[in-house]
Amino acid sequence: MDFSAHSGFRQPPKMRMRTTSTDSTEPSPLFEDTSAGPGAAGYGRGQDKGPAGYPAQTLLSDPMSNLAMAYGSSLASQGKEMVDKNLDRFIPISKLKYYFAVDTIYVGKKLGLLVFPYMHENWEVSYQQDTPVAPRFDINAPDLYIPVMGFITYVLVAGLALGTQNRFTPESLGMQASSALVWLIIEVLATLLSLYLITVNTDLTTIDLVAFSGYKYVGMIVGVVAGLLFGRTGYYLSLLWCCVSIFVFMIRTLRLKILSEAAAEGVLVRGAKNQLRMYLTMSIAAAQPIFMYWLTFHLVR
């Protein structure tokens, strides 16, 4: 939710700035004088017939207010530039845009892959001159669209499930959202810590880890919806299926990123280092079904 809010709220300030800057440079279209016909536009002329024009005309024909408006708008645009520059230092907005470059076909294929990863053959992320290709062109690339949408849908479905059991209050919706968010943060921090301790040379960024941890929301939603429609047996069956699929998906995806090249191709490489890495991959993948069960079992009674 945090990422969508940040990438979404850039739009309104831009639009506001554009309208006010056009206001200050070209005031005449907006405040044209409709009282008299000839010589109606412009500031300087408005000064001459100040009392004769509209009250708005007199307010804006005053050179002081004109100055004030120009100064205010330049100050606002300077402030916006500073905020953008500082925000870009903390949250890499340009990098985030890569993760949201998706289209419908990619989302459809990825959702299918998340619940049925058994037929997919090639799990490697394709590169284009050292930079990873956008998710639109490569189904194996991680994205943030599905995790963000999955999180929001999970909160809504949790509210729905609580409502059908007459346990719903608006505060519980917020509690569900913050609980799931806190567990996500804990999981990402634990994964980062273990990646640091085992000194893995990988190109997995923090945002990649957030994306991979967010893919389990899809399975959780499927499980809860099945539980709402078909009762507890439906919930357990679909959750079991989704848990196994997410486990296989995570292992196949992380194997290529964490393990060394030889081990990733299936050759048995001995050594303590590779063993540790294999254990790490297994534990990350095994944590997903645990979280999926933990975050949904109280919703289906």
């Binding site: 509690m175 609980s179 968010l181 806190v182 085992i198 280092k273 933990w294």
Partner: protein, 82 residues
Amino acid sequence: MAFTLYSLIQTAILCTNAIAVLHEERFLSKIGWAADQGIGGFGDEPGVKAQLLNLIRSVRTVMRVPLIIVNSVCIVLLLLFG
């Protein structure tokens, strides 16, 4: 389990405090976890224990002053608002 973001912040502060109070001479050397005992060979990658010791030492160095500030703020807030 009802977790809020506030409880996450509390957990983080408590854990960082716990790491920061581990004294180098009095405690870590006694159990063989001093910072200079974990370095193995140079060409080889450091093992898990060396990385952990490095992490403890760097947390202590970096977070000492910010923790003073954060703990003071916490104490004042808890005194005022309970």
